[in-house]
Amino acid sequence: MIAEKKISTETNQYKENISRRNRTEKIFNVILLISVLFGLLMLTVLIIDIAVEGYAWVRPELFENYHSRKPENAGMKSAIAGSIIVIFMTGLFSFPVGVGAAIYLEEYAPKNRLTDFINLNINNLAGVPSIVYGMLGLVVFGRMFGLFSIDSWFVKLFNIPIESGATGGWKFFLFDIPWLEIHLPFGRSMVAGALTMSLLILPVVIIASREAIRAVPPSIREGGYALGTTKWHVISTLVLPIAIPGILTGMILSLSRAIGETAPLIIMGAFTYVPFLPKTVWDQFTVIPIQIYNWITLPQTEYRVHLAGAGILVLLFILFLMNGIAIYLRKKFEIKW
């Protein structure tokens, strides 16, 4: 028999232990608070820094005018339109593919080397510089490997009517419906931009969604199977609703990043001066970060300090709105147990 050690609540060792643990507790509280506050402090400093310079310049001209060589006339109308449309389409493209891949990897994939390789792959893709995605987007979506240029074998083989020149390519209507216009290749259009951005954020969406799905306890799934439903039914009605908040977190972070990127879009072909609103998704475009970057590099103080600051405030506001919607959705679908 093992001799029992008597630890009563009155021994000194016990009291020391407790007070030490309590002390650690309090110190840890403070450390945690500091870590949270640091991030918030930085955010506040940044925003105040910018707001001080740019606040006065957030006025109707900023939203009604296009870029001008006179600072008083300059605005970012086309950039705002471009950003909103591109982000909307990016979410549209990346959500299904990202969540689909996450579901496949967590629920369907067998534990073999191929799955490990896909995992490794996705983690690796998260670290590729954003500018490389821009190059990839240019080749794959913008130019489509040159398949639709005038002298390609593809065009000659199928006798496709190609318009030459800067806004050229094959323009047709899908099923001959007037507003289902399609341009191939996508060229320097918002579609190509959105697809490029989707590739950029896809790894993060997949990783975050996987974590969310993985966090659903197996017992939930097993309950579903025990009732005799099919795999997809279990996933769509039991697993996904619980995982949605985590998936939305991934989407929020990813779209937030996408809306602030400049380099990949410039490489892929976004313009910097676009003095008109896009008529279709196939038009030339610019986005807010590109406009801000352009203003920051101009010599006049009105541009690089005031207008740039105003532009950043507008971007932050759009971001806030976007995040707000997603957070509202996240709260709405949150299930606690």
Binding site: N29, L33, L37, L40, L41, T44, V45, I48, D49, I50, V52, E53, A56, W57, R59, E61, N65, H67, S68, R69, K70, P71, E72, N73, S149, S164, G165, A166, T167, G168, G187, R188, I266, I267, G269, A270, F271, T272, Y273, V274, P275, F276, Q284, I290, N294, I296, T297, L298, P299, Q300, T301, E302, R304, V305, H306, G309
Partner: protein, 346 residues
């Protein structure tokens, strides 16, 4: 209990961040500090009326331009004016850099390529192999300005030889006194555009011509940046600084830096200005800026023709050049350009 702590800590956070922001602001270092210019409050935007009767009102289509960030302000300013007479023509301008601009130009994706240097041989080859013909137009001159800190009262002029001695890669000069014994014995802090910028390339050629040095200096006292604003701030804040970059950045910040007159080929020390750059007395640092127009676009797209014609007309480049901080090319260049244009569309 925790909540009360949090509220008080949040108050501390807001107050401390306000203090921090104020501290950084009052030290007037780069970008977001107190607005220095008179235009800190936005003035009312004067409304420009589009020309009521213009022959180009019905002209429509796209004009796609891309290329150098130096030429960008010129092309966009002309596009802005052009939109007043031809409101249905959509001109888009990109910022891929001179090299990037040629890359897309030589595969026929753009109508106009902005360039801060003449097209290079390897790029000509690419254009030829893709069957792209083009017309080259000189559009403006950028008077590269040599700049020092306003407190620098010893450097009153500089010659091309001195520039080469200071900036060449094999330069042994580290202190001002090495350049001239009467100058202070302090290290010179260089602020120059980074590799891959057209501005730096141009200076490199000048240095090479003078001293045979094939490259510019790279050492601890040299700061590179692709953003001329950053170089400007560096020079404005360091007493012993020395640098060079585009005229537009100087003209908009005359109170922050001091320009150094350059001794030209006649032996006179000349400060860059609109006139001296245009009439050629400011040399050798006047950099030519070009646009290259796709021949096929001239033949098939009337809106491109009209845009280029407008560019070299009285309401185009001439009207906006001083606004954007560049100089007109020698008198007669625009007329010659118009003739060149007429000859190309026949």
């Amino acid at each position: 209990m925790l909540r009360k702590n949090i509220v008080s800590l949040l108050l501390v956070l807001v107050i401390s961040s306000l203090i921090l922001a104020a501290c950084s602001g009052s030290n007037a270092t780069p970008a977001p500090s107190e607005p220095e210019s008179n235009q800190s409050e936005p003035t009312e935007a004067p409304v420009s009326e589009p020309a009521s009767s213009s022959e180009f009102v019905t002209l429509e289509g796209d004009v796609i331009a891309d290329g150098s960030s130096t030429v960008f302000p010129v092309t966009t300013a002309v596009a802005e004016e052009f939109a007043l007479v031809a409101p249905n023509v959509r001109v888009s301008v990109g910022l891929s850099g001179t090299g990037g601009g040629f890359k897309v130009f030589c595969v026929g994706e753009t109508d106009i390529s902005d360039a801060s240097r003449p097209i290079k041989d390897e790029e000509i080859e690419v254009c030829q192999s893709n069957g792209i013909e083009y017309v080259e137009f000189l559009v403006a001159l950028d008077g590269l300005t040599v700049m020092v800190n306003p407190e620098n009262d010893w450097l009153t002029e500089i010659s091309a030889e001195q520039l080469a001695a200071l900036l060449g890669a094999s330069s042994t000069i580290t202190k001002w006194s090495d350049l001239d014994p009467t100058y202070p014995e302090e290290d010179i802090l260089f602020f120059i555009p980074d590799p891959d910028s057209g501005t730096r390339d141009y200076m490199k050629e000048i240095v090479e011509e003078v001293s045979g040095d094939e490259d510019l200096r790279q050492d601890e006292n040299t700061t590179f940046s692709s953003d001329d604003n950053v170089l400007l701030d560096g020079i404005a804040n360091e007493k012993y600084a020395f640098g060079f970059f585009g005229y537009a950045y100087y003209i908009n910040n005359k109170d922050k830096v001091k320009a150094v007159p350059v001794v030209n080929s006649d032996g006179n020390a000349v400060l860059p200005s609109d006139e001296t750059v245009q009439n050629g007395t400011y040399n050798p640092l006047s950099r030519p800026l070009f646009i290259y127009v796709n021949q096929n676009s001239l033949e098939t797209k009337p809106q491109v023709v009209e845009f280029v014609r407008f560019f070299f007309g009285p309401d185009g480049g001439q009207a906006i050049m001083s606004d954007v901080g560049y100089s007109m090319p020698p008198t007669g260049t625009y007329e010659a350009n118009l003739e060149l244009l007429a000859g190309s569309i026949q």
